[in-house]
Symmetry: C2
Subunit: 303 residues, 2 copies
């Protein structure tokens, strides 16, 4: 296609910086957000701001959705003021929200009935990745559609096709499973070292040279040492992701004992006042269970 016209629905913490990256790459972008005031600042960057989702998508070649959850994506696409009905046949819904794989597959099917295409392409990398165009983008859907979207992905990050419809969402769940379990691994290991009299900060530093090294040990491990539990990634949101992952595991017929165990730890932390804590605060849950602390010093907690 020639430079595609883009609509972006959902200009929140992720959608807004992604819009700026697309505008910076020269795309024409029309944005819409349920709370219009969150979309309006993007006009100064060159975006057209629409009053309704249906207005934003009219004439667009690619409609990016970056919304909170599956029901909201469904409502925006297929609800009363539904966007799908206003789209041009042949256009693509590029859903970059994180939603359950079966919901993504259902959206793909409903859109195909309308002559529309669908790619599920959730991301990892957070608001910083969105601002810097360094997101990890996990794309599920038809090969030719994903190939066609390459110029749209380019300013946002690194996109890889991981399989058919729904696979992007599965990859995101795999990502969240690894992140959650690795946070648990680092929490338990540092607590083990401290319980025997070792210095957890020095242990973290010493083992970074070996096979234990990870982004989680580097970043979340440092948060644990500093006891800085301001989010970041909220416990509440991670529980939702892990529950979705366990539902997908059940659908797929696989038994995942570590995922189940870490989910239960996160739920206990959430239900004991930790819903808004950064997910590295899983350490606090393990400390409570053991009656031991990694070290002295106050916790930085939200709210």
């Amino acid at each position: 296609m020639t430079a595609p016209r883009i609509a972006l629905l959902g200009t929140g913490l992720m959608g807004a910086p992604m819009t700026r990256r697309l505008l910076g790459a020269g795309f024409a972008v029309t944005v819409w957000n349920r709370t219009r005031s969150k979309a309006e600042p993007l006009a100064a960057d060159g975006a057209a701001v629409a009053d309704a989702a249906a207005d934003a998508v009219r004439g667009a070649d690619v409609v990016i959705t970056m919304l909170e959850n599956g029901p909201i994506v469904g409502e925006v696409l297929f609800g009363a003021a539904g966007a799908a009905a206003a789209m041009t046949p042949g256009a693509v819904v590029l859903d970059m929200s994180s939603i359950p794989p079966p919901t993504a597959r259902e959206h793909a099917l409903r859109l195909s009935v309308l002559g529309l295409r669908h790619v599920d392409a959730p991301v990892s990398g957070g608001t910083r990745g969105a601002a810097e165009g360094t997101l990890a983008i996990m794309a599920g859907g038809a090969e030719e559609t994903i190939a066609e979207l390459a110029p749209v992905f380019a300013p946002l990050g690194r996109a890889l096709r991981v399989g058919p419809s729904g696979s992007g969402q599965l990859a995101k769940l795999a990502n969240q499973a690894i992140v959650g379990i690795t946070i648990g691994a680092v929490s338990e290991a540092l607590l083990l070292a401290a319980s025997g009299g070792a210095d957890p900060a020095a242990v973290r530093e010493a083992i970074r040279g070996g096979f234990a090294e990870s982004r989680i040990l580097a970043e979340h491990g440092q948060r644990m040492i500093e006891r800085d539990f301001l989010p970041g990634g909220q416990v509440r949101v991670h529980v939702k992701d892990l529950d979705t992952a366990l539902a997908a595991a059940s659908d797929g017929g696989v038994t995942l004992p570590l995922l189940s165990a870490v989910r239960d730890l996160f739920v206990a932390l959430r239900d004991d006042g930790g819903a808004a804590y950064d997910h590295s605060a899983l350490l606090i849950q393990l400390e409570r269970m053991s009656g031991k602390r990694l070290g002295p010093g106050p916790d930085r907690l939200p709210g």
Copy 2:
């Protein structure tokens, strides 16, 4: 001290390349190994080869032990042909073996009675790290002794003091806990993705850009995709380490549910024929439990 005279006891897969690194740095090194034939090739590199441990350590400033387990270290130091009695008062036993923290503390105490010093400094990084001098060295003991050993550590890798006697061993257990649990995390995540129809090789590649990235995802994840389970790090050895870690957790009064869960998975794999497999074969255990495979293709297995 002036350039210390070094004795190295245990010239196995790790001790031999470490000896070569020390000789290359200009140290005088006398080596001993229970099976003498394993020590003899080091003579060509400039090492003196002793017939008995007691002969090797006589006159040495630093006695490095790199042996299989705690009982063997105890036997070599304090047994019938014990080395400790032949050492010069003030000399240092630098135990780089991986043994339980209480055993390391006991050795330190018994050596102090003889006027000898002790540092526990196990390593991570494997035979390649030993050959290249890039080991992660986790040192427990007196600050001034560890500082004094800096020239000895330099050709071997990066050494950090992590606390008092026994802390090096605790750090190694923390390392092994993270490695084991992260192998579990990557196994479960790839199996989850595959069970829903995504391509696990593409998922692994896609998520490497985000918070899920680790040495384990990079190296052991690739082994899982290729189904290459030749060791590497053996399941049998990792079970031993995880059991030692759980004993240390019990001593320290901390509850580590993920470590317990992954230990049970490794034990099941060991007891079902997997003792000599690489630890990345934890995937096979999860596949058996679920009756699903990550992908087709034969397994590369030892023996």
